[in-house]
Symmetry: D2
Subunit: 347 residues, 4 copies
């Protein structure tokens, strides 16, 4: 059994990792770490896991972390991993899967601009593998440090990469209008997640300013060889889980619905967690809730010459903890689906 440690266990990302790893056939949850609640029983923070026999929360210490685990998941806010992961890498024992954005952006300048803080050391940023499993499996398999993708980039990239690579869509024309449930904002308390403010309402936030924008642009460029801007707008929806991305691209050439369908289906034919939905589908976030699926549908609008892509994930699973487990499976040569629920919770 591989020994797993989770840092930031008292946040939602950490709790979701526990849900998935507790049922994983090849791992043992060996250690839980928290800077805010050390020494406490984990189910004091999260009564839903009482009775599972989880270890108590421990303080964060790189040395013991490295010794006591085969792999460490960092489910921590931006900035923590930038300091901690290099220490773990230098100690050289435990592998690291980082769920934060600290190792995703190759450009230090971009990190400073969008995250408003200092980036992680460049040498380790360069060694990190970007963990969009379906497109980066080889790098992930050989990596000691994986930068797990952001929730929005995951839903966006899985839909946009095939079309961008095809050359059918005008570079720079992508407009990504994304809608997310509230759990993506984490467990911290502020007026922005107050029930009475969020319920029965929808709004856009961080218009033109969201830090997932450069991550999407970087990976689209890497996969297609063409640099271009992506217009990205996130919205907060009165639901707990789920992301829907509605993306609009200008077609450079006349393509049919059938061609697009064929492209997507062949691209993901052997990928167990991407489901290309039939022509005409309009997938709902609820149809992937609790699972590691990304469901994608394409609509060619012949009238306007555009393609509209719809992509749904559970932001806590494929958008965070699930993809992290999928990457661990690849890194340790477990079956890719190990420990990942196959059927969404519906309704």
């Amino acid at each position: 059994m591989v020994r797993v440690g989770i840092v930031g266990a008292t946040g939602y990302g950490g709790a979701e990792l526990i849900r998935l790893l507790a049922g994983h056939p090849h791992v043992q949850i060996a250690n839980l770490y928290s800077s805010s609640a050390e020494g406490e029983a984990f189910d004091k923070s999260f009564p839903h896991v009482s009775g599972l026999g989880l270890p108590d929360l421990m303080p964060i210490d790189a040395q013991s972390m490295s010794e006591d685990n085969d792999v460490v998941f960092l489910a921590t806010p931006a900035g923590v991993s930038a300091g901690l992961s290099p220490q773990l890498m230098e100690l050289g024992k435990a592998k690291v899967i980082d769920l934060s954005g600290d190792f995703r952006l190759e450009s230090a300048e971009a990190y400073r601009t969008w995250y408003k803080r200092e980036p992680a050391p460049a040498q380790w940023v360069q060694k990190a593998a970007y963990g969009l499993t379906e497109w980066n499996r080889e790098q992930v398999a050989g990596a000691s440090l994986v930068a797990n993708p952001g929730c929005y980039p995951t839903a966006t990239l899985l839909a946009l990469i095939p079309l961008t690579r095809s050359g059918w869509v005008k570079p720079g024309s992508w407009i990504v209008d994304a809608k997310s449930g509230v759990s993506g904002a984490g467990r911290g308390v502020n007026l922005g997640v107050h029930y009475s403010e969020i319920n029965e309402s929808i709004h856009a936030y961080k218009v033109s300013k969201h830090q997932h924008t450069p991550e999407i642009e970087q990976e689209l460029a890497r996969q297609s060889g063409v640099e271009s801007f992506v217009q990205f707008t996130p919205h907060l929806v009165p639901m707990t889980r789920g992301i829907l991305v509605t993306a609009y691209g200008q077609l450079e050439t006349k393509v049919t619905q059938e061609q697009v369908q064929e492209l997507l289906e062949s691209t993901y034919a052997d990928k167990p967690f991407v489901r290309i939905r039939p022509a005409g589908s309009q997938p709902r976030t609820k149809e992937v809730l609790g699972s590691n699926y990304c469901d994608i549908a394409a609509h060619v609008d012949e009238r306007t010459g555009r393609i509209i892509l719809l992509s749904v994930i559970d932001n806590m699973v494929k958008g965070a903890a699930g993809q992290a487990v999928q990457n661990m499976n690849v890194m340790f040569q477990f079956p890719e689906k190990a420990g990942l629920p196959l059927v969404p919770v519906f309704p």
Copy 2:
């Protein structure tokens, strides 16, 4: 007191008209009509209005309708008004405010294509005034038949018309990503409005096929003199009321946030129900709930050369019954704000 009749009173649009008109200082709710529940007490369908002393439901009959009312609101499904309104017009007494789409599209061909049914007689379609009050006040003031705008077109057009007229935005570049609460789907029962299917989920619907698309294109063309396509995608959000429109336009020229702000503020300076929010605002649907406001914010993205417009309304009020009352106020020379709540219900 002006005598008011409401047809389709047992739907949500009818019920909302009653909420607003019951508190209107210059009208009397004289008659309620329903094809499905004639003879019944209205509060049997809607217990929330019990004790208001409303008239019982009557069968639909053009002759008596025309005689017993000064103005008739039609809150009926597509197709009903196409038959009934011409009869009322020929009888020549009661004015008509039609909340359906039957008299909004000038092109019979467009109506057939998008509504999949036969249009109303062309002579009456031509005489109908399109009731986007802020942009069509004069026509509305003199009209006997008003085509009250659709909910999506209202939120979209109030935001897009000033920018489209300015010439700053490339024709044909508008992409309108709209999000609506469920009440817009009406009170009819089907799996598409089943609580367990809608709750904790979001999805797009009628992608490239929604009948409000030609209405938006027609009015943008009329106000700007330039015909062009608009890409329109509606989404269903797990909330009862509210529409948020996020619209993206490609700038043809370099304009600043200040110029856009100034344009919008001056355009709507004397319009009591349009509020231009300060630069940087990201309005929430909840901030207009229950009121007749349309709140608009603009974001110029210098990096991508685009403008993003955010526009929120309560689909039942400014998107339906409230704008209908506003149009009645103009038609009967009442103060424009008469009977319309000034403060949204928050939280």
Copy 3:
């Protein structure tokens, strides 16, 4: 025009007072007070009221408050009014309507036990009128200081008083199982109002310990002449507004549904804001949302010998700001319905 001041204007209770008073024909919102946001424009906290021309927020000062207002509403947390209201009373000019619990409990001991803090000065507690308008109108009419009832006591007492006075129900047998929306918890931020924690969930809180328990017991005793315990359990429901009280009483004698119906209907025949629903009704909180109504239905269960009462209010209106305005109307001899919306917002 009566000049009104509102203290604690940046909470939900204050905002709701503004919604109601902004449309009130006989008052002017003269002053808004806040200890946390003085000097700021009110719509910085609450964009939904932008454009209303409200006064900026002022610091709390008893002297100027007393001089500049005819009546002051205190929408403040427990403990504030205990200090401020006696000052205002001694200054002797402005009347006070206190929405907190500071002047509701006659027993200082009970206040200490349930509120865990020191009570207000006994002399002023004795002079305060308990503002359950329907049962205390005369006292309210002559009062300078009104203790506006709690949200749960309002919904509970309006249902239970008639049955308790009738002698049909065994003293001490009342079990009150109450369900509330989240807005009752106020605008402060904590994990207990975090969207992701509340959504898609229901739970009981303060079981056997809620401070509204002695308020209910005190008023039932006052109205019926018999002291007894009430079992009270509040629950938090994933909705913003609304309270449903389900109350169970053991019948001492055989009474019929008709007798109960007749008792309730005659008791409230001339009360504009209490609606007795027909036998068999199961009222929904949504049917009073945004309005000052309390809707009540009774079910006699012959099999078990119990009566079940259902009572719904909007906790922000009849449970707080609406009843406060109703009390102001009585104190200033305005029509009781002045400024209070007659039709709930449905759906």
Copy 4:
């Protein structure tokens, strides 16, 4: 591998069985049956399971059902199993687990009174084992036909049986105030599950008339030897999944919180799906969502002499499909937890 058939697969109960059984290590989903959608692919009704390779829907036929399955789950409306299960029993091959109420009530008279239809043949009702696994394991282990308990009775009985058996609570004093999510109403469409009617609202339904009342009374009597009435009131809460039962009992004797805690903990010490929460807990339905747990907390109110029990389940899991799988595990001597998720989906 045990071959499993599911009847009524296109309802929510059927879909939830598929979620659980698809991940079960010892069974194979061999056949899906539906009277309304035969011949169709299952994922046409439920896109969330696309890609699982499920069998197409087949017509309901007792003969082939019996031959092609080792066990058949009936997730059908009341009345269907009454006819079908006896046929399957007579054919004598496949075991049956019935999720409907048809075989739960021993008294034919009670079934007629509360279900308003004719009961199943008495001989088979007598042979059916009531599948409250924790209290009836031996009978379930030897049964060919299991009557899976109702959702409300499951949450209620697991909490009430130990206290009722203890003799500490006055017979006939139990008042059960239950709150349920909407999925319990099934997938059929009607105004009672319309999103706009349910959202932002709570209401009681079937007051004194719900068919789970006699089921609760029967099993309490069986386990305690004392017949008595239970007052049961269900409520509909704006959430999809979850049941909270708040139960009130009059104590006959003075017992302490510690005694109650000890009683509950020892009763369920070896039961993997019942978690007794620490004294003072107020469990939330969300803390068991998606899992087979029933979490119970007790509150002794010394002031009033009552005990308040709080019990939460996921109505689709422990309240239906999960308990059915648990019963199957017992019937086929699989480990009791096989195929049942151990960690709730939170948040």
